[in-house]
Symmetry: C2
Subunit: 605 residues, 2 copies
């Protein structure tokens, strides 16, 4: 039977054959999670996703969310799915069991999330944001705050959000104007307007916990004067029971291109002067708290985009096998030739293999990012922890920025494979494309991801992380060079990697020179080229495994899978990497047209 | 004041400075259309588009079309706009005044259409399809058919459509199953089901004329047995009055990702055995008729996509000038630095100059295609007509396939410039992206455009058209080489052009070899690379003009415009053409992964 959402064989391949995630169970922290347990978890997740969450996808889009008298209602089918999701204890998979988590490796949680997010990520944002908000409480909360909030959040009894964006402070968080005034009892009176608050209000649970960025009266301007507060929708009494309404009012929800199942709210805090918040962490350290949570959040957004792409590919491949139209090109001249499934047409195959290779490369990359977290958690040596953390930090903008860019392209190809039907709401392809689009924008636009990569990550710790990453890539190249049939691909990746090193050196130097503006006009192309190289690495790594398995001889179905790995690798290195080389040549021109053009010369006035 | 839809200065530049369209008035056929008249026409078109059509854009999307009891209703505001449009005699701008046309050069009609389609192309499809259907009547109709139908269509009293697609015959027209049975009076009884019929039913006019592709009983299989019929919604009496309902029933309308203002209908013909059609043209020559109209139709779709991109760029540039957020990168370290308009941020500038250069290149290309038609119309020599026709035929798949691909990318950038607001329905950017998406699919998917380019157009007439086009491009290169400041760009384009010649030779040869499937798996990349080269040509051509004007000294506002031309050229040749070189390197690998991969290896089963 045709698979949906994600290819289980591929999920298993990355978990076990590429990352050997079961081996984490040799560490005490993950001892319960041997391969067999991991497989059971993925099967359960897949089951819930396919049977209970996927059916809500269309409801979310067509019914959307509705605001009436400050109350937001979500589609009815979301409620059952939410209850099942939290009953299954899926919300805080990798977190501390003491507070309601499952203590699972992040890699495994990501793989389970592959199914959940691919089924309906707009729905998944309710538990997803709850998880993120809870992590802030876990990291910065007092014992009392943890006791009152954490378990209720990790178990999904209450949900959470993140109140960051304001009308004049989106990408530029430092200019926010929400204020906090200290009360005599140590709490703060919060007052301000927040917009674009995902899952900001809904009717699935009785309380919503809002971490809020605000400025304490008299605090410095900019990001240095921002503090983090815990602001529940209903106040929480010391015994854990709910108190009064806390003056957090939803004043509007956005009408959007996609993810209509998730309520994107405008919230007014303290409109009646009755919004009370507790400081979470230290005064004026709000941005630091944000930064600590950033990797997690950005990786999740990368997953959201990727999961749209994965689902779109699964649909496209199944559709292309079944949809009969047109003759095989080799029989074009025969008027009596039968029509064939469109998977036989070369241009459809081009789209499918392109989708396939990106989906596979992105899956490997995202799981690998999770795997780095797990390795950090179990590493004994501080040096090793730092090395792994550096690589993770470096890869995060690629996991978010590059992945969501390419995911959108994959979703667009997924529409194209369906032809005219792809444009209709009868099939899921156009919704996946629409849903996917926001992942390029929120949690730091992809332009900001690119600036993060070039401006912060590349030069971090004197460039050690990029060097460490290159060493890892070189290891795979060295291994591939020893394998007949992979030598050509290894050589191509090596050439691209070396060129990337040159580009990073030149662009990094330009970014420190008076030509800094020109350098940053190439930040996004640099992220794009870096991402291509990382994709090629992931596919070569996969190819090394596949080649070895084919050499040993595999079962028929496995054989097709491994041969498919070799074809993805061949396609990407032959048909995509040359374009990457061109992208790097473009960066090396140092073209300054984008920054030197006068504002008037853009026209339109 | 900020401009919308299209940059008038740029429209005028292409019309007068690049193509010198006023000079067409030296030919008798176009003698009325001197520069002054052309300018008046464009001003009128712009006025109508901005004041009357643009306000219907959101209505079309939000209200959409509704089907009740076989009747489709369009948004109320469409009716006034339609009446004004046809009263202004805009429907058949370039057609014969005897039948209600204006006899205008196609280039000028395209420029007027730049505003109309950019204002709301879903609305414009009602008159646009009418125009196309009328052209079929003009080309293939008897005198009687012309008398009864043509003027009513060219004046928009009735509208028209094109009934081609069936559930099992979309891209593969030859497999259609609608039948025609000859009656004793020479008419035909038509019976079948058509889908995806744009403007197939609506409530703006009293009659709709459907050209229908159907197979006469006993006709050969495939495309050779297809005939074209004229099937009105209401029969037309010999005196021109309307007769009985002709059994053309709308059974459904599609719910779509975009262009919701246009009704996409399923039509059942002859469900009660009472649908009468007249043969239009000769028996079994229906596909030939289609092909004759194809250039016109595909060019229009290119315009539709392009106009979304142009409108998106106009919105983005105006938004970027007004939206204040974040500090200038050079003042990042100053906590007291003021926030600046986002047009100052390098990544925003990168997006804007990319949008600008594509929009300009595409505008030049599309107008140039119209200009070739006009040149063909006034050329004295058959050889010259053939040369121009060959180049036009060659460029059509690029005008449709490449332009709509890039238009979609531009629209996506247009969303990105707006950040989170771009994803909301509050701003037009996300609608333009959605509306644009279908242009990559209908009127021959872009995969089919690519196959047309590689499989038909490239080898047409022993390759003369591609050679003629290269000669034209070389002329511009030679001219640019004489101009200080353009030499580098001329050299880069020359290199790319020469490489394109090599790629065309190799790929063309592969397409004639047993590796034909592999060749066609690169048809789309080849179209993509060819389109890039044509863009660079158009921008270099523009640059030659701009450089000369700057050399002579221009007024301040003009100076900014011309400098903007130089920057687009610089950006495209330095930051895009190297990628094009990479695309061509990829094609030259002859990678066969897409065709050699087994169906099982695609996974998902």
């Amino acid at each position: 039977m045709a698979q949906v959402i994600a290819d289980r064989r591929d999920v298993d391949f990355v978990l076990h054959e590429q990352l050997n995630v079961g081996a984490l169970s040799k560490h005490e922290k993950f001892e319960e999670f041997n391969k067999k347990t991991v497989d059971l978890i993925i099967s359960e997740a897949r089951n819930l996703a396919v049977k209970e969450i996927l059916p809500t996808l269309k409801d979310g889009d067509e019914q959307g969310c509705h605001l009436e008298n400050g109350q937001v209602s979500v589609p009815e089918s979301f409620k059952r799915a939410y209850d099942l999701f939290v009953e299954g204890e899926w919300l805080a998979m990798p977190e501390d069991p003491e507070y309601g988590g499952q203590g699972m490796p992040r890699t495994v949680a990501l793989a389970a999330g592959d199914y959940f997010n691919g089924a309906n990520y707009a729905f998944m944002m309710y538990p997803g944001l709850t998880h993120g908000a809870a992590l802030l409480v876990e990291a910065f909360g007092t014992e009392r705050q943890k006791k009152l909030f954490l378990k209720n959040m990790f178990t999904g009894t209450w949900t959470g959000t993140m109140l960051l964006t304001e009308p004049e402070a989106g990408s530029d968080v430092g200019s926010l104007s929400t204020t906090a005034v200290k009360n005599e009892d140590g709490t703060y009176s919060i007052s301000g307007n927040k917009i674009f608050i995902s899952a900001g209000e809904h009717d699935m649970v009785e309380n919503i916990v809002h971490p809020v960025l605000a400025r304490i009266e008299g605090a410095p301007a900019g990001t240095k004067g921002i503090s983090l507060f815990l602001v529940p929708k209903y106040r929480v009494n010391d015994d854990g029971s709910l108190g009064d309404f806390n003056d957090v009012v939803c004043t509007g929800i956005e009408h959007k291109m996609g993810i209509n199942g998730n309520a994107t709210c405008s919230l007014t805090l303290g409109g009646k002067g009755q919004c009370i918040g507790e400081l979470l962490g230290e005064e004026n350290k709000g941005m630091r708290a944000m930064f600590l949570m950033m990797n997690e959040a950005r990786l999740l957004v990368g997953m959201q985009g990727f999961c749209c792409a994965s689902a779109s590919y699964m649909n496209a491949i199944n559709y292309a096998r079944e949809r009969v139209q047109g003759k095989n090109l080799l029989q074009m001249m025969d008027p009596n030739a039968a029509s064939v499934p469109i998977i036989q047409h070369p241009d459809v195959r081009r789209m499918l293999i392109s989708m396939k290779s990106y989906v596979e490369g992105m899956r490997s990359l995202l799981y690998y990012a999770g795997y780095l977290s797990d390795q950090i958690a179990v590493a004994d040596e501080q040096d090793e922890k730092a090395r792994l953390q550096g690589m993770l930090d470096l890869l995060i903008p690629i996991c978010k920025g590059y992945v969501t860019d390419k995911a959108f392209d994959v979703c667009s190809a997924g529409v194209q494979v369906y032809g005219g039907y792809g444009f209709t709401r009868e099939y899921p392809q156009e919704q996946l494309l629409r849903d996917c689009r926001i992942t390029m924008i929120y949690e730091g636009t992809n332009g900001i991801q690119a600036m993060d990569l070039l401006g912060r990550k590349l030069g971090m710790n004197k460039g050690k992380p990029i060097m460490d990453l290159m060493v890892e890539i070189q290891k795979t190249i060295a291994q591939a060079k020893e394998i007949e049939g992979l030598k050509e691909y290894a050589a191509k990746l090596e050439k691209a990697l070396n060129r990337l090193g040159e580009v990073a050196m030149q662009l990094g130097a330009t970014a420190m020179s008076p030509k800094v503006m020109s350098a940053f006009a190439f930040a996004h192309p640099f992220m794009d080229a870096s991402g291509d190289v990382v994709m090629a690495w992931m596919l070569l790594w996969r190819g090394c495994i596949a080649a070895a398995k084919l050499e040993k001889g595999a079962k028929k179905k496995d054989q097709a899978f491994y041969e498919g790995q070799m074809k993805s690798l061949q396609y990407f290195t032959q048909a995509v990497l040359p374009i990457t080389m061109g992208k790097m040549d473009a960066i090396m021109t140092n073209c300054d047209a984008a920054v030197e053009i006068s504002e008037d010369a853009f026209g339109g006035k």
